[in-house]
Symmetry: D2
Subunit: 160 residues, 4 copies
């Protein structure tokens, strides 16, 4: 019997001086830029480099439609933090990504992004519309837990 | 009999090339930077310039603790948009700001920020803690609707 | 006898909290983002909205090839500054833009951008190459100084 | 006889979607944010974490006074680039940092920053003034080339 879990990516970030505001803490829009990069890294770990993914599936991106975030503790420049990211839910043409940012092992920011698989409209090149997520893409985010992640994805780990 | 309403600020923004991503639409963390500036502008309309406010009330800022946003329609570089901002709720040491971004009169992004009135801890200068919002500050966001806003705040309108 | 001068744009900017770093002054990459927006505004004053310009002339942008800036005095959040921008030199496919940022009438930042008129290569859509600037575009940046600017460009002034 | 060379740091960067503009290439102010982070990383390799450095030497930062950059080739999202950074010159209270960004081993951007060692004025806390760079700080950027870097700085390499 086979069990599956969600593919998870862990990304280590160095909080930069330029990401912080005069209160000496991360200016919150920068967290959202971090999380956008973490979603990209999660797809890369699944085998989908963003540039290649856009070409292969003829999409323009995976833009946000909904965002929720809670900021529990501030981080400061020179801090090193770790963001754990996974896709928690797949809809027909949308999906939800959860990011949890840990600073010295304390959960400091939690963020839920709802994104859509988006392409240019065939009839109006100015319009972006959502498309069904290809099943093969969804399949790339399932981890067969009967095997250790290390054996399963030896070449992908270095990309994350 | 006196009626009050929430002070509202309208800020016109030009969507810049550098705010847009390779899909040619606003990269969503930039919306949050816009809204942060809109909250600053709302306080300025109430008579509280950010730098002065920090000095007067000895706070380090009004950082976010919670964020919700929904992105209903994309905006593109060279678009001109209007953001309407108001404080919808006051707690003891926190408050909620609602921003609604309109592009050609269509509601395109809606955002709810929960912020706290924050000062450095008296005992640990590395720690930021929330403080009760001064009642006089809350009072500055009430508009007496028996009078026209134009008569009431002649010198403030030019700041917004 | 007719004399010409360079079209100049003046853009007023409010220094935002999120543009400043823990030293409480503008984080310098943000100045370059301001100046990019000021170049866009200068072209708009000349009658060339960026989106329209890209469509009309089938270019992908006017990217930088060279940058020089000197930072003479810092600016802080809540400051209001004015940036004066003009094109100081036209080459065959490149041009130089000068920006001068004034804070309380003191020249605080001076920046020289060298940009190219850039299109996708006809043979390789991954390659961007410079193209000659159309003479009509260059002509739009000359101001006939025998006439007052106010009479000459009544509808453009409001755009800047 | 002992020979010295400049300490050099190499930082690998992943070009993010959000760093690119509608022309699908890095928006140039983002390069300057990269280089600011690279200067921080160079100091960290020398043993000076930014937060600690500010506390130890009671400075507010190392702000830019002059900037020169040339952009020779564009980079795109999903590219991985390497930035080599070193301090090429020390003045009394200023120093010059050179950054060279390589994309697939091709020099794509070169940048020269002139920065100052800056502290708050003792008499006016609103004024930032330059201070002499401590000789011990300058010494930390000299590499004795008679010894292999591996032997000389075993604990620092992991920080860079």
């Amino acid at each position: 019997m086979s069990k599956t879990a969600n593919l998870t990516n862990r990304k280590t970030l160095h909080i930069e001086w330029g990401d912080c505001d005069p209160a000496q803490i991360v200016h919150y829009p920068r967290y959202l830029a971090y999380f956008d990069a973490c979603t990209t890294a999660l797809f890369k770990k699944a085998g989908l480099s963003k540039r290649q993914m856009l070409e292969t599936y003829r999409i323009v991106g995976i833009p946000l439609v909904d965002l929720r975030a809670s900021f529990k503790a501030p981080s400061r420049f020179s801090d090193t933090v770790v963001v754990e990211s996974e896709i928690t839910e797949w809809g027909r043409s949308s999906f939800c990504v959860r990011h949890r940012l840990f600073n010295r092992n304390v959960l400091s920011v939690e963020c839920f992004e709802t994104r859509v698989w988006a392409a240019l409209s065939a009839t109006d090149r100015e319009t972006i519309e959502s498309k069904p997520v290809p099943p093969e893409v969804i399949g790339m985010f399932s981890v067969d837990t009967n095997h250790s992640p290390a054996r399963q994805r030896p070449r992908r780990n270095k990309l994350a």
